[in-house]
Symmetry: C2
Subunit: 418 residues, 2 copies
């Protein structure tokens, strides 16, 4: 079969299997997930063998480096973590089928809503093979069909993992096409997939910014995505200095290469002289390079001058830009101009200023007196996270199982007519 | 200014004004809407004069027919109805800014959600000038900026109405660009608008199916839309015959040219012989033509044979297709194959069968023992309706003020770090 027919057939299979999985009971879906845990445990050696093959192949390419190997590697610890992620999803309440918010109208009808699966999800991702399991388990629990297109470098691992899923589905007499792995590695396959808006309801990319940009450009299907994580922490004049230090240091240094790390610190001029020298000292011990505005450099004499492009750069590294502003509204304006709508934080003890910031900053996560690093599906109690969205429509912020569903209207009558 | 620059400038104005309207208090937004009512009352004669001009121009074109004039006409009664629609929107609770669903996590942070405006809406519509007022009032109350592109045939009416809105905004010292009417009638303007994904967050078309199809095809921006309303009523074997007759007749005949009218009736074989002759009699008195499957024709000897294309046709007319099925699951399969995801109804006294239908039919409205004609924003208590969506993402079904908002995450801490 040529690639075009192969993708089309995969999509047709997904669409028809999506009706079956969308109607399954919670207990049946949990049985599939329990079988999946058993299968993974049974196939531990096969999974690790296939993974070794992938890593060996990687070593022969130009892409080989330690970070890449680390993303690709599956050992017993990571298998355990896949299993515990499935267990968490089993423990989650069935996200579909419940009627909520029933209200009686003056006409006599009752109107409510019911959560439903989205339908068919296409997941396009690089390296980390645990996504194969996480995404499949989330889709099974939420009643969606999924088409998986992993990176070519993890193809052997993904094939064994998807075999485990197929086995778990078939052991429970459920259509195996609920989870389909694209086992061809040609790049043209992605283009074909992204044209299938008649079959696929949403595309979720996971990987580098360039991959996501390309997918967004090519796709005829809505893409759940974020491109940048230019996260800000604003230290208001009414901040508690100790909280401000803790939050700024944690937001910048707890992990630097992640999308919810702080990239720009905004400081109220009335607290800058007290706060910035204390911060500089701690940042130095974490080897963080500072690039400041001219006012910052009046206080911190040694730092580099930030250029305009610094305010719109996601460093993903031990670099921090700092700008001093007159007051909270200027911080909000800066975030609105340069931010990426991901996560922004205010540190203040003044309730009214906090409320203004929370209300007027339109990012997918807005925080008061907490580290930006909390912007995460697990931390928000959503269970495994399928992605983070800075879109304005559908789910915003970390997307868990609920973001894989949407609500239809339910009307209950007793023979009512208009 | 050429059309490209004109559209670009309109979009820039909308984007910058959207920040202002998004932050306004409820009382301020209501003041604007109250001023709008006063302005419309003051300008009654101007509105009617401009409307007469539009109708005179229409009479000189090939498009002239009574239905078209009826859609375009603004008289005192319709002005009163615009005003009462604004009053209803004033009475609605502010849909943005409230923090809901706060939960404390084990880390100590509290996570909740806050509704926010979408940003900039582009409304593209034909003839009915009341959309100018309804859509603008909904956007003001929900904190969105709106760009209005009405039909060229109603341009004079729309200019006077949008002047009323501008006056209401300026009387309350709010940026007039919150509501902008495109006052150029060139068709190329629409193409330009649909390319502005950096400025416009959602496009809402209102009008004929061909207009909506074209907009959906050309748009680089998400389009909130429905194309067809192929609505089904399924009469289960456990239906109460009187309710079934009432609901079928009302769904088909109360208004035939609307998207929530029934187009196909599905009948359980065990009730068909009793039900169909009674229905035929009533349909005859409403002059409804019946096209039936072969089994239907065994019972109703005079009806035409339906062809396969009948099952996927939205007649919008006094025509009904009828199919007999073995049981509820076959009805669900028929709806899944031929339906348009708009509104589908089951009539039954059997609770379990009703639950199966409500759960397994994935349309934007699914009803039990009620007329399909209830699928409407007013009937659902949403206030004025900005459109109906059969999309899988974001709002589904009738879309009111809530569908013009979305939720961001709010995190409240007390110095928490990871």
């Amino acid at each position: 079969m040529n690639n075009i027919d192969y993708v089309k057939q995969t999509c047709i299979n997904a669409k028809s299997s999506s009706k079956e999985i969308s109607c399954l009971s919670e207990s049946k879906k949990n049985l599939i997930l329990k079988s999946l845990i058993d299968e993974i445990n049974l196939k531990r050696d096969d999974i690790k063998d296939a993974n070794s093959k992938d890593i060996e192949s990687l070593k022969l390419t130009d892409n080989f480096n330690n970070a890449f190997v680390d993303r690709l590697l599956i050992d017993d610890l990571r298998i355990d973590s896949m299993i515990s992620s499935i267990s968490e999803i089993i423990a989650f309440k069935d996200p579909v089928g419940e009627i909520t918010n029933i209200k009686e109208m003056s006409s006599g009808i009752k109107v409510g809503k019911m959560s439903m699966p989205l339908g068919v999800i296409a997941m396009i991702y690089e390296s980390r093979p645990n996504v194969t399991i996480d995404a499949s388990a989330l889709c099974i629990k939420s009643g969606n069909s999924i088409i998986l297109r992993g990176g070519s470098e993890s193809i052997n691992t993904n094939i064994v993992l998807s075999d485990c899923i197929k086995m778990a589905l078939s052991q429970n007499n459920v259509n195996q096409n609920v989870v389909q792995l694209i086992d061809r590695t040609d790049r043209s396959i992605v283009n074909e997939l992204l044209a299938q808006h008649n079959y696929i309801d949403i595309v979720i990319p996971r990987g580098g910014k360039n991959l996501i940009k390309l997918i967004d450009k090519l796709s005829s299907i809505p893409v759940l995505k974020h491109l940048d994580g230019i996260c800000h922490v604003f230290i208001d004049r009414h901040a508690d200095i100790n909280k401000a230090l803790k939050i700024a240091i944690n937001s910048k240094t707890q992990r630097t290469g992640v999308c919810n790390a702080m990239e720009t610190l905004i400081v109220d001029k009335n607290i800058a002289e007290e706060f910035l020298p204390l911060l500089e000292e701690q940042l130095k011990s974490h080897n963080v390079e500072i690039r400041g505005c001219s006012k910052t450099r009046n206080i911190l004499k040694e730092v580099l001058l930030a250029s305009d492009s610094d305010w719109s750069t996601e460093y993903l590294d031990s670099i921090l830009s700092i700008i001093i502003v007159d007051e909270c509204n200027d911080a909000i304006d800066h975030i609105s101009k340069y931010g990426s709508g991901h996560t922004d934080v205010i540190v203040t003890e003044n309730k009214k200023i906090a409320e203004t910031f929370l209300r007027n900053v339109d990012s997918s996560s807005v925080m008061h007196n907490a580290s930006s690093r909390f912007a995460d599906g697990y931390e928000y109690g959503l269970g495994a996270e399928i992605g983070i969205s800075t879109n304005k429509l559908h789910a915003r912020g970390p997307v868990g199982i609920e973001g894989l569903t949407n609500k239809k209207f339910i009307v209950l009558g007793n023979g009512n007519i208009r």
